[in-house]
Amino acid sequence: MARRLNRRRFILYGSATFGTSILLKACNSSPSGTTTSPTTSVSPEAAGSGNTIKVGILHSLSGTMAISEKSVVDAEQLAIEEINKAGGVLGKQIEAIVEDGASDWPTFAEKSKKLIEQDKVVTVFGCWTSASRKAVLPVYEQENHMLWYPVQYEGQECSKNIFYTGAAPNQQIEPSVDWLLKNKGKDFFLVGSDYVFPRTANTIIKAQLAAKGGKTVGEDYLPLGNTEVTPIITKIKAALPNGGVIYNTLNGDSNVAFFKQLQGAGLGPDKYPSMSVSVAEEEVRAIGPEYLKGHYAAWNYFQTVDTPENTKFVEAFKAKYGEDRVTNDPMEAAYIQVYLWKQAVEKAKTADDLDKVRVAALGQTFKAPEGTVTLENNHHLAKVVRIGEVRDDGLFDIVYSSDKAVAPIPWNQYVAETKGFACDWSDPSKGGKFKPA
């Protein structure tokens, strides 16, 4: 049907297309430069010359995980813009180079290499899923580079080259299980997505329940992206005929299907309260507060946290991205990690000597929207733990918050293989995994 191309035409058209695309790329690079790096528009004298500090932002802007990671990029860019407006770091403006990990773990590793070797960034803020972090970890260790990771995760890792500004399990999962045991019941059904975080998290929960007198009556895993949850709901009903606690580590789209169908099946939060660790304000908005009202979530930060820093953060965010946007825990962690890096660089008086920055980062405190956080020697943050209940407007009523910041424990103490291990990067002889005497 199609007209045949002879060779001469093919070469002509081919080179025309090629030329046009190069032209477009050239036209495009200047405007996109201003959007990715607010620096150039803010201070013209910093533009172009070697007067900027380059940092990398590496999240999924396309693919499955774009749902969550896009807003984290927004938060990081907000922080960078604020810092630049206030004069930058060491008198220089920060220039952010945004790369798309495309929800594909090898791409994350590839782009990390590109940011480090080609763009010569001094640090990278990035990743969301544990799978992507595990994929890039070898790159950062090999290059002896630096990654700031903003999401709560399953622990069992403590790399010299990563700073973890989300919660370790003992700052989210464990306190929430304790709270449930005390307030909601002893019988737990564990539901999770089928990948590394929920499986590790549930291993921890099962060990903890066994230690504290709770009972795991069942567990099930949904493949990522699966939205048919009827079999799981039947299992929950069979395992918990008189009600009980559902501990939910589902991620992404499955959450929506799970809560919509849970309500349809008549399992309400009065008899079947659920605790989620991956459902924050953004997700509540996407699922619909009508389905989630009365369910619980455990985080370190909620938009409703009452601190002056948080009011400022929420206002700044809404002013930049729109009144209908919400803030959540990973976004806040992403926002504060930029500031923590800035403080570390300022203390070290250099951005390029990563070993000095790493040492300077330890012990940094920051008045974050969630309250004051401290970067501990094990590269994790001491944070306040909070539990929130979903209310009508899709935000959380905070029903519990720890009276002081909880110190992070990356190596889990309930799991036999890692019991007794700790991590301390302030002392080179101890390192990432050692047994304290």
Partner: protein
């Protein structure tokens, strides 16, 4: 026991109904036209997004409107998806009939474009596209009307293309700079959006020990209506007759004066519209986001292949069978049933979670296709030409 059986039956049917509804459009596009449309999932997604928009409009109107938004949403989802399908057929697929590999790649590309489109669509983008299309196609139209310009048409269009693009981008950038957030903010964004079932569809019908969710009942009803509607359309209406004729023998139908091109476009639009309806219904159960379609695409192809390409009845049966198997395996009902027989019970317990149930269903399907490669109801007689 009876309650358990009923429960199993109902849940199996409800899973099957979801599969069937999602696969109906594909059963027409892939089954009747033999077009491997990998963008089918994205047409479902467009239906879901249409529902989201209609819901928000109805929310603004308030009161009784909000409770009934689902009905206009169903109609609009059909219309939107059918129009996009029509454009897709006229713009891409009709050039690729009879070349399944190229169709596969092209529709895959279209699906990626549609996904990224809903992520990044904002006023600037829409205005840019509108500007470009109006400029470029007016020029095209003008050039093709003047016969004396025909000789230089290609060269002029080649020059006009970058020009129109540049104008469109310039206008877009100008608007973006002037109105800032108001026009550059994405309509939907990369995040999932929330579609809430109207209040009368939430909760469920208590029937003895079990509860039948209203949404599931609604979807089962909708599926029945859709299947009946398609059956009527294909078997009883003039256009249905033409579609069947073209499916059976394209050149003969053309000889007899059936406008095959129109029939192709209509069939494709119908299949796409059904995908839109599916998207509307599925938004009540699952998530609405750029990836919604991908969650269903594999399952829908599975249903059509197992059912037998070209047979609606086969798709119905296949969807019900796959749904029931998924449910019985995944919920552990079979494990309970075989409790007395220890090794069998152990075997089924191993498969009694969602991931492993999926594995088991795939194994069963592969085994089945070994026995009957043509699906449940294979196409008989002369091979259908493309």
């Amino acid at each position: 026991m009876i309650a358990g059986l009923l429960d199993g039956l109902f849940n199996g049917i409800s899973i099957g109904a979801v599969l069937l509804l999602a696969a109906l459009g594909l059963a027409i596009v892939f089954g009747l036209m033999n077009v491997i449309n990998l963008a089918h999932g994205e047409l479902i997604m467009l239906g879901a997004y249409t529902t989201f928009v209609v819901q928000n409009v109805c929310k603004l109107l308030g009161g009784p409107w909000f409770d009934l938004y689902i009905f206009p949403a169903l109609v609009l989802a059909f219309v939107v998806a059918a129009l996009v399908g029509l454009v897709l057929e006229r713009g891409v697929i009709r050039y690729l009939y009879g070349r399944p590999l190229e169709t596969l790649l092209a529709t895959w590309g279209v699906s990626l474009i549609l996904q990224q489109f809903v992520r990044s669509v904002n006023w600037v983008l829409v205005i840019e596209i509108a500007c470009f299309c109006s400029l470029f196609f007016t020029a095209w139209w003008f050039l093709s009307r003047r016969s004396h310009l025909l000789r230089i048409r290609n060269r002029v269009l080649g020059m006009l293309l970058p020009l129109c693009l540049a104008i469109a981008i310039a206008i877009g950038t100008f608007l973006g700079e002037t109105f800032k957030l108001a026009v550059t903010q994405p309509w939907f964004g990369a995040q999932n959006v929330d579609v809430t079932a109207p209040s009368w569809l939430r909760g469920g019908l208590a029937l003895g020990g079990l509860q039948l969710p209203y949404v599931r009942l609604f979807i089962i009803g909708l599926t029945i209506v859709c299947v009946a509607g398609i059956y009527w359309f294909l078997q009883r209406s003039t256009w249905g007759l033409r579609i069947r004729a073209v499916t059976q023998n394209r050149s003969m139908s053309a000889c007899l004066g059936i406008p095959t091109q129109k029939v192709d476009a209509l069939t494709f639009a119908l299949g796409s519209g059904l995908a839109g309806v599916a998207g509307c219904a599925l938004s009540l159960l699952g998530s609405v986001g750029p990836n919604t379609g991908q969650n269903y695409i594999v399952d829908t192809f599975m249903v059509v292949v197992v059912g037998g390409v070209g047979k609606l009845g086969g798709s119905v049966l296949a969807a019900l069978a796959i749904g029931t198997a998924t449910y019985l395996l995944g919920s552990g009902t079979l494990a309970l049933l075989f409790l007395p027989v220890k090794p069998l019970a152990d075997f089924f317990t191993f498969f009694a979670n969602t991931s492993m149930a999926k594995v088991m269903v795939f194994v069963l399907i592969i085994a089945f296709l070994q026995v009957r490669p043509g699906g449940i109801f294979p196409q008989k007689g002369r091979a259908v030409d493309a």
